[in-house]
Symmetry: C2
Amino acid sequence: MGTAAAGDDVDRPLGDQQHKVNLSARRPFAQAVRTGLAETFFPDDPFRGFGALPPAARAWGTLKYFVPALEWAPRYGLDKFKYDLLAGVTIASLAIPQGISYAKLANLPPIIGLYSSFVPPLLYAVFGSSNNLAVGTVAAASLLLASIIETDVPPEENPQLYLQLFYTAAFFTGVFQTALGVFRLGLIVDFLSRSTITGFMGGTAAIIIMQQLKGMLGMKHFTSKTDLISVMTSIFHYRHEWKWQSAVLGICFLLFLLSTKILRKKRPNLFWVSAIAPFIIVVIGGVFAFLVKGNEHGIPIVGDLKKGINPLSISQLTFSEKHVNTAVKAGFLSAILALAEGIAVGRSLALIKNEQIDGNKEMIAFGIMNIAGSFTSCYLTTGPFSKSAVNFHAGCRTPMSNVVMSVCILLVLLFLAPLFKYTPLVALSAIIVVAMIGLIKVKEFCHLYRVDKFDFCICMVAFIGVIFFTMVTGLSASVGLSVLRALLHVARPNTCKLGSMASGEIFRDVRHYPHARNIPNVLVLQLGSPIYFVNAGYLRERILRWVEDEENTCKIDGQDLQYVVLDLGGVTSIDNTGIGILLEIHKSLDRKGIRIALTNPRLEVTEKLVLSGYIKDIIGEEWVFLTLKDAITACRYALQRSRSKEDGEV
Amino acid sequence: MGTAAAGDDVDRPLGDQQHKVNLSARRPFAQAVRTGLAETFFPDDPFRGFGALPPAARAWGTLKYFVPALEWAPRYGLDKFKYDLLAGVTIASLAIPQGISYAKLANLPPIIGLYSSFVPPLLYAVFGSSNNLAVGTVAAASLLLASIIETDVPPEENPQLYLQLFYTAAFFTGVFQTALGVFRLGLIVDFLSRSTITGFMGGTAAIIIMQQLKGMLGMKHFTSKTDLISVMTSIFHYRHEWKWQSAVLGICFLLFLLSTKILRKKRPNLFWVSAIAPFIIVVIGGVFAFLVKGNEHGIPIVGDLKKGINPLSISQLTFSEKHVNTAVKAGFLSAILALAEGIAVGRSLALIKNEQIDGNKEMIAFGIMNIAGSFTSCYLTTGPFSKSAVNFHAGCRTPMSNVVMSVCILLVLLFLAPLFKYTPLVALSAIIVVAMIGLIKVKEFCHLYRVDKFDFCICMVAFIGVIFFTMVTGLSASVGLSVLRALLHVARPNTCKLGSMASGEIFRDVRHYPHARNIPNVLVLQLGSPIYFVNAGYLRERILRWVEDEENTCKIDGQDLQYVVLDLGGVTSIDNTGIGILLEIHKSLDRKGIRIALTNPRLEVTEKLVLSGYIKDIIGEEWVFLTLKDAITACRYALQRSRSKEDGEV
């Protein structure tokens, strides 16, 4: 017994037939580093295929990469413009009420919402790579910005400074977004999982709807907090301010908007009805309020809107020590949020048309448009889902539709703005409520619950955190939980015992394939995921436990365990601690007279194992196999040999 | 063309021979959760095999688990005691000079060092599970504690409060350690990688050696900072305090200690010479200083040491709001550091004797001994490497050697303490320097550089951070870099293209095995590591890029790509975002007329893919295969069929 581990060489039972692991494959260091960096920061490899081009073409290609408009503009013609014109006018009719509504949501002067739909879309048309995205303000980020900036500067006390901080936050948002794009750190957005976004958007939609109770009931006073309990307390506390006129009008508007939504679902080609419905409401509501002098009869209106295009705001950016922290925090959080929404929207629409979106390029485009926006009286803009979907369904072909929208808004700003003075606030509230209802995706919650309970938890933490605490709390708790899960996955990778199937041709997990048979005297373990310091200690414990369990089973069968075969096919990398642990496992097993064999190490792992001397000095090259079948055959052969030797000696 | 993706069923080319993926395998939810929790928090499964026992035996087993002394004490006899006695006396002779030295290093009264070698070893003997560990104070943690507590309370200004904060920190250390053990969070210690520890210990050893220049030169004034630049500035600033007498004596001591170390390397059985050498130096130095009245001639001595055992210090613990933060911070950091050293030492020694160490049980033992220590005038203790190695080489058999050491220290405290008054400080410095030199592992640095450049960076960040900044900076920068690397590994998993080898029997990475051949019309990709939100976006980009590249290659060969086979064997888990990405990939490829086939999904992945409907509704059960060979055969067969159909139509 135990001779198998005694260090004598094994004859190759399969002779030339045996497949050998290529132990000499090794990438030069510089190449390995370059590949590693490229895969980390340039997973999309934007400049591939440039190498073969002449310098001029290469420069033109690079320029086209950074300014996608150069790609489509030269081939642009009337055939595409007629589609873009239609789409542009449609989204402009949506941009006006949405811009005013979301600005009100953020406690900003309503005109800022219109300004924000003028300059940023022009810039996106030049730098953006998505053909479907429509640029504008978004509800969630508006509320998030307001909730952060309010705690520093209450808008009632100092509306001017409050507005300045919005510009400054937009500036930082732009800087962060550009930096993330330039340094190719799109990675950060990856840490917002789909479950987090679903929960966060749902929770935000719920609190935004609650906020609209103020407008629907025509109230003047309201809490600046966003959580359910504060909002409900506030509504009942000021119940003497409730106005039935507002409520009746609001319910009429709501019913109208909802019916156009239902119409759209039943007849998808009538999508434009629901797209211009908000505009219709604003017009009808405005005319009605004007005729009945709504303001004096319990129907508050928007109030004065100045004529004229965006004034410059570059001199209003505030970098005073006292408030800059707030602006940076608001800017950073809304940058991440806006990117997550904008890129997700761009990608999902591109997917339908089978186009490609470059995340890092999009970040730079968003960044540029926000920096420019902060200089021209705009606050945070991104690619909101509702507007982009309308743009898409209206048949947009290129980012030119954004230019058309921008021109429409320009005309409104120059000539029509004062007319929107009479827009009843309740109309804006109804528009927001209907836009938000669709974001609470109950079906998605159920799906998550069915498929993955942990993902459901992550989603619910965001949802409940946003509703009962603050938006930042909900978001960070959910992201924290996701990252913890990621680390746990890494810290506790799955190992499984393989049994033989199909008369020894295939080896699979015995839990998964209960008819897979044990291999006498041999324990085959499949490892997965990288082996490194976080999980190395665990893997040692786990493998030694597998071995102990197997020894106990073997004892009952009257056999003894002689070989442990580690299938490294799923191990994508290994670090110094990992190699140390393999050594420790080897020592522990050696003491028990058990030999280790490795099968199918990947390139990266082979390199490290060879370099560290583990393969040559510790387990021996002849115990590294390309396939499990080879390894098992070799084990059996060595076992027979040692047994016949023992018999001979006896 | 494209018919393969048109949804018509494929006949099974292999008939009954084909191996099927077990799609119905599904663990009940409760079982999956239980297994998950057990693997996360009980990877060592301490109570396995208890289920079958009667309640009394089970209770006894549990008690023995928590009090390992019950395991060995009943079988303890004179045969073992003679070994433990020898080992205990040897480590006691080391504990006296080390205890005094490290207490001086932490700016504490030297007697605290002796106190700390009396109570904690007794407790460890009862609760500890390692037979080789010798308990005592450690240099790195002493300096770390001093550097944190000094910034809050300078020891010159308020030595009493300074000492109290050491007790309080030891109390928190104990609480943290116990909590980590009870809640099975040994996980946290896993985040200190071997590279981090190597670099940190090396850097700490270097700054501790620099600190000893104070003692070696007999200086009185010195900086409280630990970085190289402050220390060097301070030494030259106070150069008028240098005393040649101290320096000469110090060099003699150093040479003596180093020569015993060399002796030990050459003749391992004379290890005891180097083990008692520090004690010899203390005795000789003391006699010498007494005879020549060293204190008056440039050889500073330790000074008064009180007789008597540890006074109670429970009433001295300070929880005042002003200082408790410092104590908590110092306690937490030193808890992690002490655990990392203690557990690593225990494990590596146990490995040589082929014993098992239970990390979580060790944490509880360390925790109990530190809490009890903080009540009895001890500061932080753990299992230092030098002492434990001596214990091991002296032939200890059980934790009884700690009891013997403790009794020796008791005798010293009761009768001999005042004699150590004359110990020259320079002797202590020489002892520390020699103990520290071995911790700067230049060979290990070189090994790291050769095997893994990134690990080398992590190590150097700790090393340089500790030497040039502070210990906490070095440690946290290095841990941060390690965690970042872990996340990057997860965020950018390896994918590789497989080619066929051994006449289509085996499929391996084409970069690793350059002779692996392309499979016409089929692209085989091997994924690794879990697929989830962090890497899902990357994987989509990467897979679509592989497909594009392959299409370009195919075009040159005049073929077209019709199938993408994803080998999921290395994918240990998948989350909701991951499934969403698989869906997106399917849509993108479907549009190009390319079909996806999956091979060998693991149990956890199969469960999720079935539950979400991905397998049944999207790609179809007939396109999930157990082996790559089956998948390729099916692709070829379907291709032939569609071609012959086309030919027939033509």
